[in-house]
């Protein structure tokens, strides 16, 4: 198409050779891959040369034998799917990753200890074997759990895998035949028609009105016509190449296959994308960091107490058993499963809001995002040409471009408007497809090109049925648009049956239309065109063009009856009627308007400290207009060019630092060094990149990442996919997105709406906060789990808490409450703060450890120990006698151990008391974890401000209590888990400590709120 501004559009399309010249240290291979892209030379060859090159015949096609030979040589015409990790590797990664290694070590030590016991003792106690099995089962179950969670989210993708067109029409040995597209080989003569998907990269040899939609490759939303002529050196621009996996919109064409499969342009981009290593997601890095901390603590404590116990004179076997205990106590076994569940819950919540997350860890990434590089077409805009402005009666009128027609309207009573509407409706070949009356006008499908569809919809909305209007004005003759005339005209009967004149309506490039006009319609009255009006026309045309809109001019002429009587034979090929001295009616301009929700979403992103950069393949003027429209370039901010224009000085004299905004053209980007790009990214807050190639999108993303940003990229085309892959989080469009882009992305916006990203950011930030709370909650109970062992070793007291009970806490009572924290609502407006700095704001930091381990955990440990001492004392073992009793306490042959009252206990009798202590310690941890859960709900606010509206959390409180009671009171638990029923009073031992936790933390948070930035915040705000 080539109306109006499309001319300049074309000119600007001298696309660079993909930054070939810029020497980038990073990714030599990437460059090589992309350099190959320009290796297409067929477009510059003549058809004959091309045939020779591919050993084919322009009429007969390949012979079957040759086709088979080529198929063998080149392989099937299909994209190699991106390499996938084998399932068993994924499974093993889950089985041996994270804490699992530590737990496997514990289990192995258990088995070793049991084997040693089995060899040295007659009747080995089964405890270690039992514990070893339990630990192994725990590891396997949590491993399987995360494996299945992962598998579930990756299954979503399977529906997107159908990429290659199914059938292709080829000519071989002179015969047309339908074959599977995978069997198409280079040199095949292929016929395509409207609606087909292109089976391979083709050199067009003949075409009839063929138009292809290259949007997935180049990002241009407009269908491109195709012909056998070479129109550009750039293979992406030339008209005689059609590309694999793009769509033929209308017409037919015949072409020679020049590349198949992975060697196609599309295939190369896909390969480039899948070849990029993406690195770990921020949350994965955080979890790794956290696992390192915990493992470090576990290994450090384990080894030092191992050595200590050897020094204290314990046997090797005992030391090993202590080591197991310390490992089990230190590792929060359920935590990774909790994190997985929390992420899954958020992923589900986001899916409900149209954000489909492919990779679970990507849930949080949007929350950390500090830069969004957004594609324009289809993401920020509706990807639908719409009439935006009209100029008639010497005045610019604004049309409603919103999706739901909620925008402003204009005065429709003017006679000029009626004339303009009539021209737009009549001189228009677009029609609504049948059977769509129930849909709103804007949603209906139209047969016809984008501009005409836009006019059709506009008129249908404003003036009612276009079909009726066309019926009233029967078309007599028509000259369709062609690029030499740059206009389209048609001749119609008038509405008035008594008027025998014909109506000639014409539309086209405004300057061409104006040239043909001698009068202009103002307020329904024809007036002669004078210089003043021409000036007005020019300024209106410039203004609309400056908005990045495509402008069309409209004129009409009531043909004099004397010259063109009824029945006059209009000859459209050899024009036998006047096309001059017409009456100019007006201008209409069209744009792909921004989506309604986008400006708001961009604003929210901005207030959330996220820099929104537009990266588009489209023209700079259009890009800038849309950027201004959606607020990517905010009101009042100027580019260097704007400043230059305002001050009327050359661009070179403007200090680039004065301009916050900038629009950068792909051809300029090509010549820039990495430093310069960094400089631009750092010094401009509002950036638009226009006319960028896939490779440049990649460079932009890399530039942002070099600056320490966490980058989200949104896009729908194949040309976006390398950038999508390289980004920390790639966001593809679910409706308009190409399969390659969906494959490369981590997240898919099901409604193609940029505003959904804001939801993603919000959810991502919320889950990061909530994971902190969840981890703080879970880690706290580690201290009451570790300290019993330490005291057991150092003070030789009977063991206060056993390994099985520790597992009951970590995998039982702590789970639901920890997960429930994922449902916690935000404490403050999380969209008003800056994105987290990945170098500084860690998921688990020393402040969280200080609070969880050093403060709350210690109170919890005291609560547990108190319960332990209470039970022993009430059974006759006063605290004073406990220190040092471990040796005889754990001696099976001492069956007359004396308590503080002189009573004598058999081994089994006192062990029951000990296990009752374990149970009480366990219950006490549950009791203090109540308070901890409530305390962990908030990091800054008081719980009284936050409220207790989290129903899952309340359920969690009851659930953990019920589970604890179940474990304690169910008959048979004494045998199964060695847990014994508690006397009711023992439940209350830890209550004072629970209360203390609540009061202490409320006071801490009160001080924290009162003294922002004070010592308490610096040391305890996690």
């Amino acid at each position: 198409m080539g109306y109006g501004r499309s001319d300049s559009y074309r000119v600007a399309t001298t696309q660079d050779k993909d930054g070939k010249g810029s020497p980038k240290k990073k990714g030599e291979r990437d460059m090589d891959e992309l350099k190959k892209e320009v290796a297409v030379t067929e477009h510059k060859m003549s058809v004959e040369e091309c045939c020779r090159k591919h050993n084919t015949d322009i009429v007969q096609g390949l012979t079957n034998a040759k086709a088979a030979e080529f198929l063998l040589r080149d392989g099937p015409n299909a994209l190699t799917p991106p390499p996938t990790t084998p399932e068993w590797v994924k499974f093993c990664r889950n089985l041996f990753g994270g804490f699992s290694l530590l737990l496997w070590l514990g289990a192995m030590l258990c088995f070793v200890a049991y084997i040693i016991q089995a060899i040295t003792e007659d009747e080995p106690a089964g405890d270690n074997l039992y514990l070893g099995i339990v630990l192994s089962v725990v590891v396997i179950i949590t491993g399987c759990f995360s494996y299945f969670q992962e598998a579930k989210s990756s299954k979503i993708m399977e529906s997107f895998k159908n990429m290659v067109p199914q059938q292709a029409l080829v000519i071989r040995e002179g015969e047309k035949m339908q074959i599977d597209a995978v069997e198409v080989v280079a040199g095949d003569l292929v016929e395509i028609k409207g609606g087909d998907r292109i089976p391979a990269d083709l050199r067009v040899v003949s075409a009839h009105g063929c138009k292809v939609d290259n949007s997935s490759l180049t990002g241009e939303s407009e269908p491109q016509s195709r012909s056998p002529d070479c129109t550009s050196d750039n293979p992406l621009e030339t008209k005689n190449i059609v590309f694999f996996s793009t769509n033929c919109v209308e017409g037919t064409a015949r072409g020679i296959v020049i590349f198949t499969g992975d060697r196609t342009v599309m295939g190369r981009i896909a390969t480039l994308a899948s070849g990029l290593d993406t690195g770990k997601t921020p949350i994965a890095k955080e979890i790794e960091h956290f696992i390192h901390i915990i493992t470090g603590v576990a290994v450090f404590l384990g080894l030092s107490f191992f050595i200590l116990s050897i020094i204290l004179g314990y046997s090797w076997l005992e030391a090993v058993i202590f080591l197991i205990g310390i490992i089990v106590a230190n590792v929060p076994e359920g935590l990774l499963a909790t994190v997985t569940v929390c992420l899954t819950l958020t992923a589900k919540r986001m899916a409900k809001k149209n954000c489909l997350v492919k990779n679970l860890e990507a849930v949080e990434t949007l929350g950390s995002t500090s830069t969004i590089c957004s594609d324009k077409t289809g993401t920020l805009t509706q990807n639908r040409m719409t009439v935006a402005h009209m100029w008639f009666d010497n005045q610019i009128h604004e049309a409603d471009t919103t999706e739901d027609q909620s925008g402003a309207s204009f005065d429709k009573s003017s006679a000029t408007w009626i004339a303009l509407a009539r021209i737009a409706a009549l001189c228009n070949r677009a029609v609504f497809k049948a059977g769509q009356d129930q849909f709103p006008i804007l949603k209906r499908d139209v047969a016809g090109d984008a501009s005409e569809s836009a006019l059709l919809k506009c008129i249908e909305l404003c003036c009612g049925s276009v079909r009726a209007m066309r019926d009233r004005n029967k078309k007599v003759a028509e000259i369709p648009f062609n690029s030499t005339n740059k206009y389209q005209l048609s001749i119609h009967d008038t509405e008035d049956p008594n008027d025998n004149r014909y109506l000639l309506v014409m539309k086209g490039a405004p300057e061409r239309i104006l040239d043909r006009c001698s009068t202009i319609l103002l307020q329904g009255k024809e007036q002669p065109m004078d210089e003043e009006l021409k000036e007005a026309f020019q300024s209106a045309y410039m203004e609309l063009g400056g908005l990045g809109e495509r402008v069309l001019g409209f004129c009409h002429l009531l043909m004099p009856e004397d010259q063109y009587p009824k029945g006059f034979a209009f000859d459209c090929d050899d024009v036998n009627f006047t096309t001059d001295n017409m009456c100019f009616v007006g201008l209409m301009s069209m744009i792909d308007p921004p989506r309604a929700a986008v400006p708001d979403a961009v604003g929210k992103c901005r207030s959330a400290g996220i820099k929104v950069i537009m990266v588009t393949g489209d023209h700079p003027i259009t890009a800038k207009a849309i950027a201004k429209g959606v607020g990517i370039i905010s009101e009042g901010n100027e580019t260097v060019e704007d400043i230059a224009a305002r001050l009327n000085i050359p661009v070179s004299q403007v200090n680039p630092r004065d301009a916050k905004a900038c629009v950068i053209h792909g051809t300029d980007l090509k010549d820039m060094a990495g430093d310069h790009i960094d400089d631009i990214l750092r010094n401009h807050t509002e950036i638009v990149f226009a006319r960028t190639s896939p490779q440049q999108k990649l460079i932009i993303v890399e530039g942002c990442q070099r600056g320490g940003a966490i980058v989200a990229v949104t896009g729908d085309g194949v040309n976006d996919s390398p950038a999508l892959k390289k980004a920390d989080i790639g966001v593809a469009m679910g409706i308009s997105g190409s399969d390659v882009s969906k494959q490369a992305a981590d997240m898919i916006l099901l409604d193609d709406n940029f505003a959904s990203i804001v939801t993603g950011v919000e959810e991502g930030r919320l889950i990061f906060d909530n994971l902190k709370k969840s981890i703080a909650y879970t880690l706290t109970s580690n201290i009451p789990e570790i300290t019993p062992f330490l005291f057991f070793i150092c003070a030789s007291i009977p063991l206060p808490l056993g390994t099985i009970t520790i597992l009951c806490i970590d995998l039982g009572t702590d789970m639901v409450p920890a997960i429930s924290l994922a449902y916690e609502t935000a404490e403050s407006d999380i969209m008003k703060r800056q994105p987290r700095n990945p170098a500084r704001d860690k998921l688990v930091n020393e402040r969280l450890i200080s609070i969880a381990y050093g403060q709350i955990g210690m109170i919890q440990a005291l609560g547990g120990f108190f319960a332990y001492f209470v039970i022993l004392a009430e059974n006759g073992f006063l605290p004073s006698m406990l220190i040092g009793t471990r040796l005889s306490w754990d001696d099976r042959t001492v069956n007359d151990l004396e308590d503080s009252y002189g009573q004598q206990w058999t081994y089994e009798q006192r062990k029951i008391v000990e296990y009752t202590c374990h149970t009480a310690f366990f219950v006490s941890i549950v009791v203090v974890q109540w308070a901890d859960l409530i305390v962990c709900k908030t990091r800054r606010n008081s719980v009284f401000q936050q409220g207790m509206r989290n129903k899952i959390l309340i359920f969690g409180l009851f659930e953990e209590t019920a589970l604890a009671a179940f474990l304690s009171y169910t008959p048979g638990m004494d045998v199964a888990l060695r847990m014994y029923p508690l006397k009711p009073s023992w439940w209350f031992c830890a209550f004072p400590y629970s209360l203390l936790i609540f009061v202490y933390d409320e006071i801490r948070k009160l001080i924290l709120r009162r003294n922002p930035g004070g010592w308490v915040e610096k040391e305890t705000y996690y």
Partner: protein, 292 residues
């Protein structure tokens, strides 16, 4: 800009800077005053916690009775225990090898010393046999110290270890007829029977029926007389003498393991715990080697 970059990249600095950063004077990421504050905070915090813990412990200990534990439900069936205990409840010795059994003799001598008649006469009372020796407190007024009944070593007859004959003095160990002393675990307030005094009955365990030979019990019947019960706890009943039953294996088979199980026969202790092998019973292994 370049300066800022330098500032931003201390990560590449040597890791030793973590321990001492000469530029900022930080030790492990904190300055001296920062360390001082955080240590002071934890000092105060932990002192407070310790205080709170001591307080709750004090309150708890106040609720604990000095003379009787709050709960005794885990002691429903008193345990039985043997003396000498041996290693892993095994008594293994060689008759010819004096040293192999001398350690048992010494242990028993020490164990039985408080039962010497002279000591008993000095500390304890003579009580009426065959009836419980109640010494209840009258309301709030403690009836302390409580008296205990004499259990004289001579009651153990040939297992008393008193006398001139080496057989008696070595508790039969030297002659291959060892005495094993069985005591019933002390439980405050326990009355081990109703009508008839509880007694110890030993027998072979497993298939060792013919190896065990004949047994002799001291005192007669191997019973624990009612007068030693109830026990009031060592705090109230300082000189309590735990009654003993001695079992003498008169013609045990030599050079073989003999598994023995002794049970308390009582009309109140009727059931034995499946899991607790020492509640109301005790089993041990006896092996007396004799060079042929």
């Amino acid at each position: 800009m370049a300066k800022e970059d330098d500032e931003r990249k201390p990560k590449s600095a040597p890791w030793t800077e973590f321990f001492w950063n000469p530029r900022t004077h930080e030790v492990m990421g904190r300055t001296a005053s920062s360390w001082g504050l955080i240590i002071l905070f934890y000092l105060v915090f932990y002192t407070f916690l310790a205080g709170m813990f001591v307080l709750t412990m004090y309150v708890m200990l106040c609720t604990i009775d000095e003379y009787k534990p709050t709960y005794q439900d885990r002691l429903a069936i008193p345990g039985l225990m043997i003396r000498p205990k041996g290693e892993l409840m095994e008594i293994i010795y060689n008759i010819e090898d004096t040293e192999s059994w001398d350690k048992y003799i010494q242990k028993l001598d020490n164990f039985l010393a408080p039962y010497n008649d002279s000591v008993q006469a000095q500390k304890n009372d003579v009580c009426t046999p065959d009836s419980f020796f109640y010494q209840e407190d009258s309301g709030e007024v403690r009836n302390n110290p409580k008296r205990s009944c004499q259990f004289n070593r001579t009651m153990l007859g040939s297992c008393s270890g008193l006398g001139s004959e080496s057989d008696v003095r070595t508790y039969g160990y030297g002659t291959g007829q060892p005495c094993i002393f069985i005591k019933l675990n002390r439980v405050i307030g326990m009355l081990p029977g109703k009508g008839q005094a509880p007694y110890v009955s030993c027998g072979p365990k497993n298939q060792d029926t013919d190896k065990i030979g004949e047994l002799e019990y001291f005192p007669t019947n191997g019973s624990y007389n009612f007068m030693y019960y109830p026990f009031y706890g060592i705090r109230a009943q300082v000189n309590y003498s735990q009654p003993l039953v001695a079992v003498k294996f008169t013609n045990i088979t030599y050079n073989t393991d003999v598994n023995v199980e002794c049970k308390i026969i009582s009309d109140t202790i009727t059931e034995y715990s499946e899991r607790d092998k020492f509640a109301g019973r005790v089993s041990f292994r006896l092996r007396i080697n004799k060079n042929i």
